[in-house]
Chain length 231, copies 2
DNA sequence: AATTGTGAATTCCTTCACAGCC
DNA sequence: GGCTGTGAAGGAATTCACAATT
């Protein structure tokens, strides 16, 4: 276990590896080599070994990794053995979709509450029975319900003030869907999901005269790409 | 204008710069320096100048950049002066949300159609009147409606086959929300949006004993982070 | 024989620093 | 004086290549 700072590229890849291991486990596979895993992701086996080596020596030379052991280690490293309470702010299309979207209610993430400031939305219920609460109750709720992560599904103009509010309430982790860069706050991790940038990136690709050559930089840049997010 | 290969980090930042310029334009600002823009994004002014320099000399030494000129240049570079037809596959919560989400119907992106294979969903309408079509008609529709970009809002298990189908129909750009890495196809650009990885990345941060030190690597890695996506 | 863990080499990206221009 | 554009330096991330281990 090293003490170096670990890059977010590495930790994001750990999520991928874990997903792969989950699948292998469900197929009953017991051992896996870095090479075999690397093939699934079109990345290099040394990359996987290096990523894992930051956290310990989980493999056996000449043999590979135990699927169940490594899986447990990664869950530990990623903090997935602890439940995390998640709240969404913004009950527009996106907020409701995220609330209802199953993907957030798994792996220890619990969608606990959704907020909006629009009186017409307050009191309505999502299909799975989550009631839209008044945004003015957000700070209280964060403390009462022990919210760990707040998801911003609000307009760009509202995001910065909202960030002040939730950090004041003690929130350390934010997933931001608003198309705006938020100013860094000490001790607060913000991940950005920016659909517009993704679409425009595709648009750029389509606008290239040689939109026929794959982004095949060996495989690195191509893949590295997956993982950056933000600020 | 260089002929070097341009990194996706660069093009993604162009999207950010454009967004910034849009705002400046709407405020009536006419000129901007790389330094002033850099401050908005907590990144380095040389970075902005380098990014732009790949495509031309848009600035004036001693003066800065003309907001409206640079804006037009970036729209050109990103291919945003051409309309792009977008289709969604998967009319579950996420697909419907994406269809209704305003963000996709702007900047020249037009949400044209949504598909599903579930007979109970086919024929239903989204709130803005888009009718869910039978997924079997997807290939036809891609050609008839000149779809440029297909958004995957399907389960992981369905994504790979779907990719084969849309690439066979001539699609060159895919925005994938399914939590699975897709195998590279020559000449096809795939961007991944992976909520699970984002959440787990926040979980990792929360699990760190020293979850108090900001990710402040100067500002580089911190920000660079924003932009990678995928494969 | 196979596969890990890792220093060294490489490639890629960012920042510095300054010449050149308004 | 101020700001761009860019070569050179510096830093990060990836890949190579091999010793160590079973």
């Amino acid at each position: 276990m090293k003490t170096e700072k670990i890059s977010e590229l590495t930790t994001s890849r750990l999520s991928l590896y874990l997903r792969c291991l989950d699948e292998l486990a469900s197929e009953g596979v017991e051992r896996i080599s870095s090479k075999a895993m690397a093939e699934q992701f079109a990345l290099h086996s040394a990359q996987i070994r290096k990523d894992l080596a930051y956290f310990g020596e989980f493999g056996v030379r000449g043999v590979g990794y135990s699927v169940s052991d490594l899986r447990e280690q990664l869950r530990q490293i990623l903090g997935l053995n602890t439940d995390r309470n998640v709240a969404i702010v913004g009950a527009g299309n996106l907020g409701i979709a995220l609330a209802t979207y199953g993907g957030f209610n798994s792996n220890g993430f619990r969608m606990v509450a959704i907020f909006d400031s629009d009186p017409n939305k307050i009191g309505t219920k999502t299909r799975d029975g989550l009631c839209v609460q008044d945004a003015r109750e957000l700070s209280d709720c964060i403390q009462r319900e022990k919210i760990d992560i707040v998801v911003f599904a609000v307009p760009a103009a509202a995001a910065e003030k909202l960030l002040d509010q939730v950090t004041a309430a003690g929130i350390k982790a934010v997933l931001n869907f608003a198309p705006v860069r938020l100013p860094p706050k000490p001790g607060v991790k913000i991940k950005h999901v920016d659909f517009a940038i993704s679409l425009e990136s595709l648009s750029y690709f389509l606008a290239q005269p040689n939109s026929s050559g794959q982004t095949t930089t060996g495989m690195g840049a191509d893949f590295r790409d997956l993982l950056r997010n933000g600020k």
